[in-house]
Symmetry: C2
Subunit: 327 residues, 2 copies
């Protein structure tokens, strides 16, 4: 059976999801008209809202009955995610995101940076209203780690000696950590101390799989279906897993090895065609796919601590769906 | 007697100030080397640390005996201030701040935006450790208002019909609000509910005076003494008080009025010399100076609720010193 996002992931929390969306709109309300227009623009440009949906499903799966705080938490997660996208678009000078003009392109860099700052602050403000110390500490530490992960990625740009371990540290910070906050936060709201670790592991492994798949797609997708340009990572000299694996699977003194090595070191896409074929022929893609599968398996395994429910099943479906992107 | 910053402002809290500085260094510790280098660079490029000193003085003036939390709070204030400067430098594409290369110039925009985000998150993380709900709520709301104030400033760029009231809203957000957090936060730590309002008023009026003076200097200072270029605000079409006053003090159908009106609307410095002389000859500068004096008087008046002490005196000296910049 093919997994369908709406039917097999969203449906069990569709009602909470609608309420959460309404809460995001209240959250970005501001007496400053420009803050509101920009926030509205960037929040509406959001994608599938995977992170808040994960948060809502996790809350239900952990046994939360009154979903008020969980809806707020899901909105907070999405606002934090949106803030990072807005800042990413400024630093990457992106003009489009998911086919829509970015905030920096529609307004300017100043507005985009400041509205990003506003969204971070408002997310914390809404979080404070929930009045839960454990939750607050988890988020304040987590957001530091997210920023650190993004800087670590910059630090390793153009470094061909990056290892898989370094890569995992980077993607944990820049991607998996926010997923972890979404699900562990839900377990905290449920008051289920014993579920915290399981929920964190689910989201952490899911996030790793999700990012590995994203990095594979940078060498295999076509631009039209994804809104992502092939070769973006290579352009920036990012040592992602497909390249790290390709370096490991080719011998140091081969031309293939040297082309990948040099491409990371210099960035640019002048050897893009060659790098793509090396990644494919060296077995690097198979290796990455295998790693994504392993991470997905670990994610699903972590869920088994929770009692069986349609919500747990939906979390499992979501993990499977992410993997389906490349199969 | 001329007020001396070190002797008449800093001295009463010199010991706490040194400990606070140490705490900032611990606060910016990160396992990511690049995060640490950039944070260290931008924190060290800081100026007189007026905001944390104000926080320490306010804590003492409100009767705080154990200064541990106050030192932490002062460090948090400085970290938030630093984060806004780092982001400002990115959006203004500034290469120098106080004669030192900016983070965006030394590294790049990406690094600067992300380290700014890290500093905001770390500031919240340290704040959560103090475990005081009132303090946390004040800061989470306040940081939203600061971002909103900065966006409001962008919204009113190139708008000659901005009023003094709009101007006051802008400077309250972008400047005074952080000063308020510094002193009201100290009153919260002191557990002195009755001092909260007085401390907020002191800092709010001080901040207004400070910003009005800064805006006067944009039309009167020389670049060498200030590290600020004359005409920066005019360049960006910012309707600051000197221009708002000049428009009010000249008749609509005069050439002078039209030059100022047009300069705000278009930005640029092609009429800088003329605008400077209009600001001076129309009585706008005197008006601004008068307003700065009034704000300073209100700041000092608000202090009178506190018991007399060397700390209260130092806060009064600080307000006086800010005014001395233009006399």
């Amino acid at each position: 059976m093919t997994i369908d996002f709406k039917r097999d992931v969203l449906a069990p929390v569709a009602h909470d999801f609608a309420a959460m969306d309404q809460f995001i709109n209240e959250g970005i309300t501001s007496k400053v008209a420009l803050v509101m227009s920009v926030s509205k623009h960037v929040v509406e440009a959001g994608g599938k809202r995977m992170r808040p949906i994960m948060c809502l499903l996790a809350a239900k799966a952990c046994g939360v009955s009154d979903m008020t705080h969980a809806r707020h938490l899901a909105a907070i997660i999405e606002m934090l995610h949106t803030a990072t996208l807005v800042h990413d678009d400024v630093v990457d000078e992106s003009g489009l995101r998911r086919g829509r003009p970015t905030a920096n392109a529609t307004w300017n860099n100043q507005t985009a940076v400041l509205v990003g700052d506003f969204l971070i602050s408002r997310a914390f403000d809404l979080l404070v209203n929930i009045k839960n110390w454990d939750l607050l500490k988890d988020f304040s530490t987590g957001t530091c780690e997210i920023a650190e992960g993004e800087v670590l990625q910059l630090q390793w740009q153009h470094q061909p000696h990056a290892t898989e371990d370094i890569y995992l540290q980077i993607i944990h910070g820049k991607t998996s950590r926010l997923f972890e906050l979404a699900t562990e936060g839900a377990a905290i709201l449920a008051g289920q101390e014993s579920y915290r670790e399981a929920m964190r592991h689910y989201a952490g492994h899911f996030g790793n799989a999700f990012q590995i798949i994203d990095d594979i797609l940078d060498y295999t997708s076509d631009a039209e279906t994804l809104g992502k340009n092939i070769g973006d990572d290579l352009m920036e000299g990012k040592p992602t897993l497909p390249l790290i694996a390709a370096l490991k699977l080719t011998h140091e003194n081969t031309e293939q090895h040297q082309i990948v090595h040099k491409s990371i070191a210099t960035g640019g896409t002048s050897h893009l065609e060659q790098v793509i074929s090396i990644v494919k022929n060296s077995g690097a893609l198979e290796y990455c796919l295998q790693r994504a599968k392993e991470e997905t398996e670990k994610a699903v395994e972590a869920l088994q601590v929770l009692p069986e429910s349609e919500y747990r099943q939906a979390l499992e479906n979501l993990a499977q769906l992410a993997l389906d992107r490349i199969q």
